[in-house]
Symmetry: C2
Subunit: 339 residues, 2 copies
DNA sequence: GTGAAAGCGCTAACAC
DNA sequence: GTGTTAGCGCTTTCAC
């Protein structure tokens, strides 16, 4: 049987579609009696508003898309898990898209024909795309970019203070008495801005402590995965003077580094202390558990969605702002050992 | 400026909306000259069809939803990555939802009011929901369930032959000369059907080889995560007679088990060989790399989407079938050692 | 407070 | 092959 429509409800209740619409949407004032009649009819017919029709009429799709580089990277998966409920609560459905961190693919959705009718806004977690690329997008599409940036634009950034967080991580290591500290994850090229902020914090902590920075201890990696961490750690251990601590640019990198350390017979943290970044679940349950910088993912999600919704509802162009979410350092076994 | 509509294009090209629609959708035959005029007008106006309106008119949303228990479980993330492009190719957008493997939440989307206008069909990867629960759903919603099942119903199942795959895994271990083989991941309760099929294969391999099954070597775990594997392995190693091989019900479990083994000074595979299930990327790059049962995720994705699309397009009720995707055993370092 | 009616932008009979 | 036209189901301006 065909689904009941608003008109069916109106007929049954003996009122006009207008009134039913008012009741359904809680608009305007509807006389008590009328409301009850309508509600009864709705119940009897099992009426469900047709979202599609509503959207056509309002010109909104009620959907936002979240684009992440990789769906199977724990950090992004966890972020997505935080974003979805927040968006739902605001009445938005979340479309997830993966860019493969590939410049070829990133941008596909942004430039996709007909996207306008498909989603009302986008939360974008860039990787392959540089700041530059983003400016060339459809300026009419409300956009919030994840990851702290500094430039001005007609879209927003939401992220934690990477430099400060990285500085804290390294200070934690220094506070533990470590002096030869390595960094794994640098990406000294245009699309590696996030990595570069961490390197900046790494240096800042050294400077603040009056320690020299040994540039040869800063190891670059193509991505932030386990393999990258494992490989980089191998390199580090092959040196005549291996480090006594490592600041990894992601927990995955830290996990990889720890793996190499343990396999090679080093004790963590006794011989080498390791701290990561992201606070992914894997790190919490690993042995040793991984000390980390924990971005407040819930706050990131909330800020991003709220800001995006605001943009969507705004008729005026909104200047881009930089929103900063909180973070905290969580010391676990990989730096402070077992309790 | 307002977006151009189909009518604008028609006016500019001097044809009727019908013709424009035909051109846009590649329907029917359109005279060459007419087509060119229309295409020119489309280009000039930068016309983009409004997907929403199209869907309202056709009664289809063009979206399918894929529900997985956990977004941050590598296996599901990889499956999703396989499904998305296939669906796109068929003209569907993919909505991703997470059920938390929680019976409270699973079913929320299924029973959600107005879902009918939001998505045309659903691919469901159950965990907390038993076969039973699924039958109570809206029978009008085209549904394909992931994971092999045996019962008849008005929806389909797509999965690999778990029992056969598990048997092969254990036979591989037996072929390596192992005799005390443990299994980690059993879930002997209604919602643990997938686990039970693996246990069944575990037993079958023993029987086929004329080997006795030591039930005390079958360890149950609440989930299929690293922690579960690590903990179970601890238990196994605390025995007077630890196993010389372990069949883990997921690669994550295998990774956890290997972690415990290595930490405790056991060599993998020399002392204990380990094989997993799922072929997730983490296992491929781990040290030692993890031998595994690799489900053909691409085929699973293809079968699931194709079947779902068929269901969506079918006017008649379609009987549920069981579709079987391929799998293969990949022997890596955790069972055969380094090359 | 509620009704009538005009769309939102597209599709798809039904004609010609 | 192409035009006409009536919806898809809802929102919303305009009257009353």
């Amino acid at each position: 049987m065909r689904d009941a429509t608003l008109r069916d409800v109106a007929d049954l209740a003996g009122v006009s579609p207008r009134t039913v619409s008012n009741v359904v949407n809680g608009y305007a004032k509807v006389a008590q009696g009328t409301r009850e009649k309508v509600e009864l009819a709705i119940a009897q017919l099992g009426y469900r508003p047709n979202v599609l029709a509503r959207h056509l009429a309002t010109g909104r799709s009620g959907q936002i898309v979240v684009v992440v580089p990789y769906l199977d990277t724990p950090y992004f998966a966890e972020l997505l898990q935080a974003i979805i409920p927040v968006a739902r609560r605001q009445g938005y459905n979340v479309l997830i898209d993966q860019s493969d961190g590939d410049r070829e693919h990133e941008g596909e959705l942004i430039g996709r024909p007909s996207h306008r009718s498909f989603f009302d806004g986008m939360i974008y977690s860039p990787l392959g795309l540089s700041q530059q690329d983003l400016s060339g997008r459809d300026p009419a599409l409300p956009l919030v970019v994840l990851g702290e940036r500094t430039s001005e634009a007609n879209f927003d950034h939401v992220g934690i203070d990477d430099v400060a967080a990285s500085t804290e991580a390294v200070q934690h290591l220094i506070g533990l008495g470590r002096r030869r500290i390595a960094a794994i994850g640098d990406q000294p090229y245009p699309t590696g801005e996030a990595a570069q902020r961490r390197t900046k914090g790494f240096r800042a902590a050294h400077v603040a402590a009056g320690l020299p920075v040994d540039d040869s201890l800063i190891i670059g990696t193509p991505r932030f995965n386990r393999v990258d961490g494992a490989t980089a750690m191998e390199t580090l251990l092959d040196r005549a003077d291996p480090p006594d601590a490592v600041f990894c640019y992601s927990d995955l990198v830290a996990l990889g580094a720890i793996h190499t350390l343990v396999s090679r017979g080093f004790r963590v943290p006794e011989d080498v202390a390791v701290i990561g970044y992201d606070d992914i679940e894997d790190g919490r349950y690993a042995l040793p558990s991984v000390s980390t910088i924990a971005p407040d993912k819930t706050e990131i999600a909330r800020l991003a969605v709220e800001r995006l919704v605001m943009r969507i509802n705004s008729t005026e162009p909104v200047p881009g702002v930089d929103l900063r979410a909180g973070h905290r350092l969580i010391a676990r076994q990989s730096t402070v050992g077992s309790a």
